[in-house]
Symmetry: C2
Subunit: 223 residues, 2 copies
Protein backbone atom coordinates (compact mmCIF):
# COMPACT_ATOMS: atom_id res chain seq x y z
CA UNK A 1 0.00 0.00 0.00
CA UNK A 2 1.31 3.46 -0.92
CA UNK A 3 2.00 5.89 1.89
CA UNK A 4 0.73 8.87 -0.03
CA UNK A 5 -1.89 9.80 -2.63
CA UNK A 6 -0.99 11.11 -6.02
CA UNK A 7 -3.27 13.71 -7.53
CA UNK A 8 -2.81 14.34 -11.22
CA UNK A 9 -3.31 18.08 -11.69
CA UNK A 10 -2.00 18.26 -15.23
CA UNK A 11 -5.49 18.44 -16.64
CA UNK A 12 -5.62 21.05 -19.35
CA UNK A 13 -8.40 23.19 -20.74
CA UNK A 14 -8.69 21.04 -23.84
CA UNK A 15 -9.23 17.76 -21.98
CA UNK A 16 -12.00 19.32 -19.85
CA UNK A 17 -13.47 20.72 -23.04
CA UNK A 18 -13.42 17.30 -24.69
CA UNK A 19 -15.24 15.64 -21.79
CA UNK A 20 -18.04 18.17 -22.10
CA UNK A 21 -18.01 17.77 -25.90
CA UNK A 22 -18.80 14.08 -25.47
CA UNK A 23 -21.76 15.05 -23.26
CA UNK A 24 -23.10 17.45 -25.90
CA UNK A 25 -22.77 14.74 -28.54
CA UNK A 26 -24.85 12.39 -26.35
CA UNK A 27 -27.55 15.02 -25.82
CA UNK A 28 -27.75 15.74 -29.56
CA UNK A 29 -27.81 12.03 -30.50
CA UNK A 30 -30.62 11.53 -27.99
CA UNK A 31 -32.69 14.21 -29.76
CA UNK A 32 -31.52 13.03 -33.23
CA UNK A 33 -29.99 16.41 -34.10
CA UNK A 34 -27.17 16.67 -36.67
CA UNK A 35 -24.80 19.48 -35.59
CA UNK A 36 -22.32 20.80 -38.19
CA UNK A 37 -19.40 23.03 -37.13
CA UNK A 38 -18.29 25.15 -40.12
CA UNK A 39 -14.76 26.55 -39.85
CA UNK A 40 -12.61 28.64 -42.24
CA UNK A 41 -10.69 31.89 -42.73
CA UNK A 42 -12.50 35.22 -42.72
CA UNK A 43 -14.26 35.81 -46.03
CA UNK A 44 -13.98 32.26 -47.33
CA UNK A 45 -17.69 32.02 -48.09
CA UNK A 46 -19.10 30.30 -44.99
CA UNK A 47 -22.28 32.40 -44.82
CA UNK A 48 -22.92 32.23 -48.58
CA UNK A 49 -22.57 28.43 -48.58
CA UNK A 50 -24.76 28.03 -45.50
CA UNK A 51 -27.52 30.20 -47.00
CA UNK A 52 -27.42 28.05 -50.16
CA UNK A 53 -27.49 24.76 -48.21
CA UNK A 54 -30.40 26.02 -46.09
CA UNK A 55 -32.31 26.97 -49.24
CA UNK A 56 -31.83 23.41 -50.54
CA UNK A 57 -32.52 21.57 -47.26
CA UNK A 58 -35.19 23.55 -45.44
CA UNK A 59 -38.08 21.88 -47.28
CA UNK A 60 -37.07 18.52 -45.78
CA UNK A 61 -35.51 19.36 -42.43
CA UNK A 62 -36.09 21.72 -39.49
CA UNK A 63 -32.94 23.85 -39.38
CA UNK A 64 -31.33 26.22 -36.87
CA UNK A 65 -28.17 28.33 -37.24
CA UNK A 66 -25.70 29.70 -34.69
CA UNK A 67 -23.58 32.59 -36.00
CA UNK A 68 -20.43 33.17 -33.94
CA UNK A 69 -18.63 36.48 -34.34
CA UNK A 70 -16.47 38.72 -32.20
CA UNK A 71 -18.69 41.65 -33.10
CA UNK A 72 -21.49 42.71 -35.49
CA UNK A 73 -24.58 40.81 -36.64
CA UNK A 74 -23.88 40.93 -40.37
CA UNK A 75 -24.08 37.16 -40.85
CA UNK A 76 -27.16 36.59 -38.69
CA UNK A 77 -28.95 39.23 -40.77
CA UNK A 78 -28.08 37.33 -43.97
CA UNK A 79 -29.02 33.92 -42.60
CA UNK A 80 -32.26 35.01 -40.93
CA UNK A 81 -33.54 36.05 -44.38
CA UNK A 82 -33.70 32.33 -45.28
CA UNK A 83 -36.46 32.02 -42.70
CA UNK A 84 -34.75 29.51 -40.39
CA UNK A 85 -34.22 29.98 -36.64
CA UNK A 86 -31.03 32.03 -36.22
CA UNK A 87 -28.93 33.04 -33.21
CA UNK A 88 -26.10 35.60 -33.28
CA UNK A 89 -23.49 34.80 -30.64
CA UNK A 90 -20.83 37.37 -29.71
CA UNK A 91 -17.60 35.88 -28.37
CA UNK A 92 -16.45 38.99 -26.43
CA UNK A 93 -13.12 39.02 -28.27
CA UNK A 94 -12.53 35.26 -28.18
CA UNK A 95 -11.03 33.69 -31.30
CA UNK A 96 -12.80 30.35 -30.95
CA UNK A 97 -15.87 28.55 -29.56
CA UNK A 98 -15.48 26.33 -26.50
CA UNK A 99 -17.89 23.56 -25.64
CA UNK A 100 -19.43 25.71 -22.95
CA UNK A 101 -20.13 28.49 -25.46
CA UNK A 102 -21.40 25.94 -27.98
CA UNK A 103 -23.82 24.40 -25.47
CA UNK A 104 -25.09 27.75 -24.22
CA UNK A 105 -25.79 28.77 -27.82
CA UNK A 106 -27.56 25.46 -28.57
CA UNK A 107 -29.82 26.01 -25.55
CA UNK A 108 -30.44 29.68 -26.42
CA UNK A 109 -31.34 28.65 -29.98
CA UNK A 110 -33.49 25.77 -28.76
CA UNK A 111 -32.10 22.64 -30.42
CA UNK A 112 -34.35 19.87 -29.18
CA UNK A 113 -36.98 20.10 -31.91
CA UNK A 114 -34.50 20.64 -34.78
CA UNK A 115 -33.09 18.12 -37.30
CA UNK A 116 -30.02 20.18 -38.17
CA UNK A 117 -27.98 22.89 -36.43
CA UNK A 118 -25.28 24.74 -38.36
CA UNK A 119 -22.61 26.52 -36.30
CA UNK A 120 -20.68 29.16 -38.25
CA UNK A 121 -17.52 29.44 -36.16
CA UNK A 122 -15.32 32.58 -35.87
CA UNK A 123 -13.40 33.20 -39.12
CA UNK A 124 -10.01 31.82 -38.13
CA UNK A 125 -7.94 28.97 -39.54
CA UNK A 126 -6.05 28.37 -36.27
CA UNK A 127 -7.79 28.50 -32.89
CA UNK A 128 -11.28 27.06 -33.53
CA UNK A 129 -9.61 23.77 -34.54
CA UNK A 130 -8.31 23.33 -30.99
CA UNK A 131 -11.76 23.13 -29.39
CA UNK A 132 -14.25 20.32 -29.97
CA UNK A 133 -17.66 22.03 -30.03
CA UNK A 134 -19.59 18.79 -29.61
CA UNK A 135 -20.53 18.89 -33.29
CA UNK A 136 -21.39 15.73 -35.24
CA UNK A 137 -18.95 16.78 -37.97
CA UNK A 138 -16.47 19.58 -38.78
CA UNK A 139 -16.79 21.12 -42.25
CA UNK A 140 -13.67 23.11 -43.19
CA UNK A 141 -13.78 25.57 -46.10
CA UNK A 142 -10.83 26.69 -48.20
CA UNK A 143 -11.54 29.44 -50.74
CA UNK A 144 -9.52 29.57 -53.96
CA UNK A 145 -8.31 33.20 -53.45
CA UNK A 146 -6.52 32.02 -50.27
CA UNK A 147 -4.25 29.69 -52.26
CA UNK A 148 -3.89 25.92 -52.46
CA UNK A 149 -0.99 25.84 -49.93
CA UNK A 150 -3.08 26.58 -46.83
CA UNK A 151 -3.24 22.98 -45.48
CA UNK A 152 0.57 23.11 -45.30
CA UNK A 153 0.48 26.21 -43.09
CA UNK A 154 -2.54 25.45 -40.90
CA UNK A 155 -2.17 21.72 -40.17
CA UNK A 156 -4.55 21.20 -37.24
CA UNK A 157 -7.57 22.72 -38.99
CA UNK A 158 -7.29 20.23 -41.84
CA UNK A 159 -6.54 17.36 -39.43
CA UNK A 160 -9.80 17.87 -37.49
CA UNK A 161 -11.92 18.21 -40.66
CA UNK A 162 -14.44 15.46 -41.35
CA UNK A 163 -15.21 17.05 -44.71
CA UNK A 164 -13.49 19.80 -46.73
CA UNK A 165 -15.14 22.17 -49.23
CA UNK A 166 -13.02 24.21 -51.64
CA UNK A 167 -15.16 27.30 -52.35
CA UNK A 168 -15.17 29.99 -55.09
CA UNK A 169 -13.94 27.53 -57.74
CA UNK A 170 -15.32 29.89 -60.45
CA UNK A 171 -12.31 32.19 -59.84
CA UNK A 172 -9.69 29.46 -59.29
CA UNK A 173 -7.80 30.36 -62.48
CA UNK A 174 -7.46 34.04 -61.52
CA UNK A 175 -5.62 32.98 -58.36
CA UNK A 176 -3.57 30.16 -59.90
CA UNK A 177 -5.34 27.73 -57.58
CA UNK A 178 -4.76 24.09 -58.51
CA UNK A 179 -7.38 21.54 -57.44
CA UNK A 180 -4.74 18.80 -57.65
CA UNK A 181 -2.29 20.63 -55.37
CA UNK A 182 -5.10 21.52 -52.95
CA UNK A 183 -6.26 17.91 -52.68
CA UNK A 184 -2.67 16.69 -52.27
CA UNK A 185 -2.09 19.25 -49.49
CA UNK A 186 -5.32 18.27 -47.72
CA UNK A 187 -4.29 14.60 -48.00
CA UNK A 188 -0.93 15.35 -46.38
CA UNK A 189 -2.89 16.37 -43.25
CA UNK A 190 -5.95 14.13 -43.49
CA UNK A 191 -6.24 10.70 -45.09
CA UNK A 192 -10.02 10.32 -45.06
CA UNK A 193 -12.03 13.57 -45.32
CA UNK A 194 -13.84 13.88 -48.66
CA UNK A 195 -12.98 17.10 -50.56
CA UNK A 196 -15.75 18.85 -52.51
CA UNK A 197 -15.01 21.58 -55.08
CA UNK A 198 -17.82 24.10 -55.48
CA UNK A 199 -18.99 27.58 -56.37
CA UNK A 200 -22.29 28.87 -55.02
CA UNK A 201 -22.26 31.81 -57.46
CA UNK A 202 -21.74 29.51 -60.47
CA UNK A 203 -23.94 26.75 -58.95
CA UNK A 204 -21.22 24.17 -59.50
CA UNK A 205 -20.49 21.25 -57.20
CA UNK A 206 -22.99 22.17 -54.46
CA UNK A 207 -25.14 19.12 -55.31
CA UNK A 208 -22.41 16.73 -54.18
CA UNK A 209 -21.94 18.40 -50.79
CA UNK A 210 -25.73 18.56 -50.38
CA UNK A 211 -25.98 14.81 -51.06
CA UNK A 212 -23.20 14.09 -48.54
CA UNK A 213 -24.94 16.17 -45.85
CA UNK A 214 -28.36 14.61 -46.51
CA UNK A 215 -26.82 11.17 -45.92
CA UNK A 216 -25.25 12.31 -42.64
CA UNK A 217 -28.43 14.06 -41.46
CA UNK A 218 -30.56 11.01 -42.30
CA UNK A 219 -28.14 8.69 -40.47
CA UNK A 220 -28.61 10.74 -37.29
CA UNK A 221 -32.38 11.13 -37.85
CA UNK A 222 -32.92 7.41 -38.38
CA UNK A 223 -30.15 6.26 -36.05
Amino acid sequence: MERYNVVEIKEDVTSRNNLFAAEIKRKLADKKVFYLNVMASPGSGKTTLLAELIRRLKGDYKIGVIEADIDSSVDAETISKTGVRTLQMHTAGACHITCQMSYEALCALGYEDLDVVFLENVGNLVCPAEFDTGASENLVLLSTPEGDDKPKKYPLMFQVANVVAVTKTDVADVFDFSAERAEKNVRSRNGTAPVFFLSVVAQEGVDDLERYLRQKINMVKNG
Copy 2:
Protein backbone atom coordinates in the same frame (compact mmCIF):
# COMPACT_ATOMS: atom_id res chain seq x y z
CA MET B 1 3.84 52.01 8.78
CA GLU B 2 1.82 49.12 7.33
CA ARG B 3 1.90 45.84 9.18
CA TYR B 4 1.92 43.77 6.05
CA ASN B 5 3.12 43.88 2.47
CA VAL B 6 0.77 43.88 -0.47
CA VAL B 7 1.84 42.03 -3.57
CA GLU B 8 -0.15 42.80 -6.68
CA ILE B 9 -0.46 39.53 -8.54
CA LYS B 10 -3.13 40.59 -10.99
CA GLU B 11 -0.59 41.12 -13.72
CA ASP B 12 -1.72 39.55 -16.95
CA VAL B 13 0.15 38.14 -19.90
CA THR B 14 -0.60 41.15 -22.06
CA SER B 15 0.76 43.74 -19.63
CA ARG B 16 4.03 41.81 -19.24
CA ASN B 17 4.13 41.52 -23.02
CA ASN B 18 3.67 45.28 -23.42
CA LEU B 19 6.50 46.10 -20.99
CA PHE B 20 8.85 43.94 -23.02
CA ALA B 21 7.50 45.46 -26.26
CA ALA B 22 8.60 48.88 -25.06
CA GLU B 23 12.09 47.48 -24.44
CA ILE B 24 12.27 46.05 -27.98
CA LYS B 25 11.15 49.40 -29.39
CA ARG B 26 14.01 51.12 -27.51
CA LYS B 27 16.57 48.59 -28.78
CA LEU B 28 15.38 49.03 -32.37
CA ALA B 29 15.31 52.83 -32.12
CA ASP B 30 18.84 52.73 -30.75
CA LYS B 31 20.00 50.83 -33.86
CA LYS B 32 17.74 52.92 -36.16
CA VAL B 33 15.81 49.88 -37.38
CA PHE B 34 12.25 50.24 -38.75
CA TYR B 35 10.25 47.13 -37.79
CA LEU B 36 6.95 46.49 -39.60
CA ASN B 37 4.46 43.90 -38.30
CA VAL B 38 2.27 42.69 -41.18
CA MET B 39 -1.03 41.09 -40.11
CA ALA B 40 -3.98 39.69 -42.09
CA SER B 41 -6.14 36.64 -42.81
CA PRO B 42 -4.63 33.56 -44.45
CA GLY B 43 -4.20 34.08 -48.18
CA SER B 44 -4.72 37.85 -48.18
CA GLY B 45 -1.50 38.51 -50.10
CA LYS B 46 1.00 39.30 -47.33
CA THR B 47 3.90 37.44 -48.93
CA THR B 48 3.18 38.75 -52.43
CA LEU B 49 3.06 42.36 -51.17
CA LEU B 50 6.23 41.93 -49.11
CA ALA B 51 8.15 40.47 -52.05
CA GLU B 52 7.05 43.45 -54.18
CA LEU B 53 7.98 46.02 -51.49
CA ILE B 54 11.37 44.33 -51.03
CA ARG B 55 12.00 44.49 -54.78
CA ARG B 56 11.29 48.24 -54.70
CA LEU B 57 13.21 49.05 -51.47
CA LYS B 58 16.22 46.75 -51.43
CA GLY B 59 18.37 49.07 -53.56
CA ASP B 60 18.15 51.77 -50.87
CA TYR B 61 17.82 49.87 -47.60
CA LYS B 62 19.27 46.80 -45.93
CA ILE B 63 16.26 44.54 -45.34
CA GLY B 64 15.51 41.44 -43.26
CA VAL B 65 12.33 39.35 -43.09
CA ILE B 66 10.85 37.14 -40.37
CA GLU B 67 8.25 34.68 -41.63
CA ALA B 68 6.00 33.33 -38.88
CA ASP B 69 3.99 30.20 -39.57
CA ILE B 70 2.63 27.30 -37.60
CA ASP B 71 4.21 24.91 -40.05
CA SER B 72 5.92 24.76 -43.48
CA SER B 73 8.48 27.10 -45.03
CA VAL B 74 6.50 28.06 -48.12
CA ASP B 75 6.74 31.82 -47.48
CA ALA B 76 10.40 31.87 -46.49
CA GLU B 77 11.19 30.09 -49.75
CA THR B 78 9.35 32.80 -51.72
CA ILE B 79 10.90 35.70 -49.82
CA SER B 80 14.45 34.35 -49.81
CA LYS B 81 14.37 34.45 -53.62
CA THR B 82 14.40 38.27 -53.38
CA GLY B 83 17.91 37.95 -51.98
CA VAL B 84 17.28 39.54 -48.57
CA ARG B 85 18.08 37.97 -45.20
CA THR B 86 15.14 35.69 -44.30
CA LEU B 87 14.19 33.72 -41.21
CA GLN B 88 11.40 31.13 -41.02
CA MET B 89 9.94 30.95 -37.53
CA HIS B 90 7.64 28.09 -36.52
CA THR B 91 5.19 28.92 -33.75
CA ALA B 92 4.62 25.33 -32.56
CA GLY B 93 0.87 25.64 -33.02
CA ALA B 94 0.57 29.18 -31.61
CA CYS B 95 -1.86 31.51 -33.35
CA HIS B 96 0.11 34.71 -32.67
CA ILE B 97 3.57 36.17 -31.99
CA THR B 98 4.42 37.33 -28.47
CA CYS B 99 7.15 39.85 -27.75
CA GLN B 100 9.43 37.09 -26.55
CA MET B 101 9.02 35.24 -29.85
CA SER B 102 9.44 38.48 -31.77
CA TYR B 103 12.69 39.35 -29.95
CA GLU B 104 14.12 35.85 -30.30
CA ALA B 105 13.42 35.99 -34.03
CA LEU B 106 15.01 39.47 -34.34
CA CYS B 107 18.16 38.17 -32.64
CA ALA B 108 18.23 34.96 -34.71
CA LEU B 109 17.85 37.05 -37.87
CA GLY B 110 20.46 39.57 -36.71
CA TYR B 111 18.73 42.98 -36.74
CA GLU B 112 21.43 45.38 -35.60
CA ASP B 113 22.90 46.13 -39.05
CA LEU B 114 19.54 46.31 -40.85
CA ASP B 115 17.46 49.37 -41.83
CA VAL B 116 14.17 47.50 -42.12
CA VAL B 117 12.74 44.30 -40.68
CA PHE B 118 9.42 42.96 -41.97
CA LEU B 119 7.56 40.50 -39.74
CA GLU B 120 4.94 38.46 -41.56
CA ASN B 121 2.71 37.37 -38.68
CA VAL B 122 0.58 34.20 -38.59
CA GLY B 123 -2.39 34.46 -40.98
CA ASN B 124 -5.12 35.29 -38.49
CA LEU B 125 -7.40 38.30 -38.14
CA VAL B 126 -7.96 37.79 -34.40
CA CYS B 127 -5.15 36.75 -32.04
CA PRO B 128 -2.03 38.52 -33.42
CA ALA B 129 -3.78 41.87 -32.74
CA GLU B 130 -3.70 41.14 -29.01
CA PHE B 131 0.09 41.06 -28.76
CA ASP B 132 2.38 44.04 -29.30
CA THR B 133 5.44 42.62 -31.07
CA GLY B 134 7.57 45.69 -30.43
CA ALA B 135 7.13 46.75 -34.05
CA SER B 136 7.40 50.39 -35.15
CA GLU B 137 4.10 50.05 -37.00
CA ASN B 138 1.34 47.52 -37.68
CA LEU B 139 0.32 47.09 -41.33
CA VAL B 140 -3.03 45.30 -41.65
CA LEU B 141 -4.11 43.85 -44.99
CA LEU B 142 -7.67 43.23 -46.15
CA SER B 143 -8.05 41.42 -49.48
CA THR B 144 -11.09 42.13 -51.64
CA PRO B 145 -12.23 38.45 -51.86
CA GLU B 146 -12.71 38.52 -48.06
CA GLY B 147 -15.38 41.22 -48.33
CA ASP B 148 -15.60 44.85 -47.23
CA ASP B 149 -17.40 44.01 -43.96
CA LYS B 150 -14.41 42.49 -42.16
CA PRO B 151 -13.57 45.52 -39.94
CA LYS B 152 -17.07 45.13 -38.47
CA LYS B 153 -16.39 41.53 -37.49
CA TYR B 154 -12.73 41.76 -36.37
CA PRO B 155 -12.59 45.08 -34.49
CA LEU B 156 -9.31 44.83 -32.57
CA MET B 157 -7.21 44.06 -35.65
CA PHE B 158 -8.35 47.28 -37.32
CA GLN B 159 -8.03 49.26 -34.07
CA VAL B 160 -4.34 48.37 -33.65
CA ALA B 161 -3.50 49.11 -37.32
CA ASN B 162 -1.22 52.08 -38.01
CA VAL B 163 -1.80 51.62 -41.72
CA VAL B 164 -4.28 49.49 -43.74
CA ALA B 165 -3.76 48.10 -47.23
CA VAL B 166 -6.69 46.75 -49.23
CA THR B 167 -5.14 44.14 -51.55
CA LYS B 168 -6.25 42.40 -54.78
CA THR B 169 -8.21 45.47 -55.98
CA ASP B 170 -8.00 44.10 -59.54
CA VAL B 171 -10.70 41.56 -58.63
CA ALA B 172 -12.82 43.84 -56.40
CA ASP B 173 -15.76 43.83 -58.82
CA VAL B 174 -15.92 40.04 -58.96
CA PHE B 175 -16.47 39.98 -55.19
CA ASP B 176 -18.79 43.01 -54.97
CA PHE B 177 -16.17 44.73 -52.80
CA SER B 178 -16.85 48.44 -52.34
CA ALA B 179 -13.88 50.71 -51.57
CA GLU B 180 -16.25 53.23 -49.99
CA ARG B 181 -17.84 50.67 -47.66
CA ALA B 182 -14.40 49.27 -46.78
CA GLU B 183 -13.03 52.69 -45.87
CA LYS B 184 -16.16 53.51 -43.88
CA ASN B 185 -15.86 50.21 -41.97
CA VAL B 186 -12.16 50.79 -41.26
CA ARG B 187 -13.00 54.32 -40.04
CA SER B 188 -15.61 52.94 -37.64
CA ARG B 189 -12.73 51.14 -35.87
CA ASN B 190 -9.84 53.51 -36.49
CA GLY B 191 -9.94 57.27 -37.00
CA THR B 192 -6.38 57.85 -38.19
CA ALA B 193 -4.78 54.93 -40.10
CA PRO B 194 -4.31 55.73 -43.80
CA VAL B 195 -5.95 53.20 -46.14
CA PHE B 196 -4.16 52.27 -49.37
CA PHE B 197 -5.91 50.40 -52.19
CA LEU B 198 -3.58 48.28 -54.30
CA SER B 199 -3.00 45.29 -56.54
CA VAL B 200 0.49 43.85 -56.90
CA VAL B 201 -0.57 41.77 -59.94
CA ALA B 202 -1.99 44.85 -61.73
CA GLN B 203 0.76 47.13 -60.35
CA GLU B 204 -1.84 49.59 -59.09
CA GLY B 205 -1.53 51.66 -55.93
CA VAL B 206 1.70 50.10 -54.64
CA ASP B 207 3.58 53.38 -55.27
CA ASP B 208 1.57 55.17 -52.57
CA LEU B 209 2.24 52.54 -49.90
CA GLU B 210 5.92 52.47 -50.94
CA ARG B 211 6.11 56.27 -50.50
CA TYR B 212 4.47 56.04 -47.06
CA LEU B 213 6.92 53.36 -45.92
CA ARG B 214 9.97 55.23 -47.27
CA GLN B 215 8.94 58.24 -45.16
CA LYS B 216 8.57 56.08 -42.03
CA ILE B 217 11.86 54.24 -42.65
CA ASN B 218 13.72 57.52 -43.22
CA MET B 219 12.27 59.04 -40.06
CA VAL B 220 13.70 56.16 -38.02
CA LYS B 221 16.99 56.16 -39.97
CA ASN B 222 17.51 59.90 -39.53
CA GLY B 223 15.91 60.16 -36.10
